[in-house]
Subunit: 225 residues, 2 copies
DNA sequence: GCTATACTTTAAAGTAATCTTAAAGTAGCA
DNA sequence: TGCTACTTTAAGATTACTTTAAAGTATAGC
């Protein structure tokens, strides 16, 4: 799960990023409303956390503009004021939830889970292609000859490929979506995980394979016989 | 037993929390309808006490929305008015009971007991999975090679896992449901109790085991042979 | 009200899974 | 043939979980 966090107070932001990463989210942090909008419009996120008070453009404004553009990523608003008017305006503008500062981290996590769950409720819990099934709940990859538990990175990569079956996914897209813009991981990480995935696919007896497209990226497709 | 109390008058709320905690309930207190809804939807409670007159969303509205979402936690409504119309609407909306202010604490406690009993009446007294049985009455865990008495925390954790056999339960969910939102216990408490439980499962000769899903949570499942 | 006991929590040290990097090997293509 | 892009392996660093021990709290029986 990839989240965008827009919060201008550095300390607050850093603390939140730490907690969110710990809870298995990939997080991109931005520090003003303009960046929030620019990042948000990429549709690379499963959820966004927007502070209302921010330089350049306030959170409600960002939200309105994104909704105008047809971006319906779930949004959780953070507000320092507990004023009802702000909240109502936020919810009217298409926010999915809001939280008043100060708040407990546990509550934030619960709200994020609820928010993204509502969204993903209709997307199936198990992905199936050929003779393999990937559980979004347990990260288990099942095939005719066994089950393998995938790590978080392996899971995210395979999930992307299964959702976009037969479609080419560029190495950069993997990096952006899974490691985030600000990651300094080498490109070669993607190659390594592709290798791990192929090994696990073979070990569960999959009839699908990951094909490389030289200079471009990877595709998941059923094996030819 | 975990209760949610939604009551906007601080003094009243504090008094109720004190009495309820004294009667061995874990209590989360919220002070408006929106929070009542947000907390209630987590399904972390064995019962909810909702004041009808509350800011942002009244108790009946909260109840209706929760029932719409399929949450059937028992609800006791508190009303200052003794108007019949309110009561009828409340009961129609899926409340299990109501109480008119002012009321005696003793009566409130009795109603809560009755309400939660009705609910748990139909859930079996013994949970069985594989070759182990957990008694909800005595907190005894029985297996082929012995019996172990579980502590309250151990019991609650194992109960959750047995009810949700083969389903992953996140560490956060354990924390929320057993320790509550406002607890400041470290996450590591969960790990410690998982360890105690595993030890007791082995000692009674269980053919089920608790599997960890790194970064996510735990699952109870029958052992592979 | 004291003491023994059981239960809960914290802390810390040990273990294992996962992630990242580096480096050596292989294949496609000019 | 040689360049580049990918593949694989292995080692190290990091993180997450497991276990143990000990300190803190609550409870029951005297």
């Amino acid at each position: 799960m990839r989240l965008l966090l827009a919060e201008d107070e550095k300390e607050m932001s850093n603390a939140l990023v730490a907690v969110l990463k710990h809870s298995n989210y990939s997080v991109d942090a931005v520090y003003d409303g303009l960046d929030a909008y620019n990042y948000g419009i990429s549709e690379n996120y499963d959820g966004m956390i927007l502070d209302i008070m921010m330089p350049k453009m306030d959170g409600i404004e960002v939200l309105k503009k994104l909704r105008e553009k047809g971006i319906n990523t779930p949004v959780l608003l953070l507000t320092a004021k507990s004023q009802v008017s702000d909240r109502i305006e936020g919810l009217d503008s298409g926010a999915d939830d809001y939280l008043t500062k100060p708040f407990a981290m546990g509550e934030l996590l619960a709200r994020i889970r609820a928010m993204t769950r509502r969204k993903t409720e209709f997307s199936p819990n198990d992905l199936t292609i050929g003779n393999i099934t990937l559980s979004r709940e347990t990260f288990d990859l099942k095939g005719p000859s066994g089950t393998q538990r995938l790590g978080s990175k392996e899971f995210q990569m395979l999930e992307m490929m299964m959702v976009n079956k037969n479609t080419l996914i560029s190495t950069e897209r993997f990096m952006e979506r899974i490691w985030g813009y600000d990651s300094d991981a080498e490109i070669n990480v993607v190659w390594v995980f592709i290798s791990y995935l192929r090994k696990k696919l073979v070990s569960v007896g999959a009839d699908v394979e990951i094909k490389a497209a030289r200079g471009v990226g990877y595709t998941l497709a059923e094996k030819q016989k």
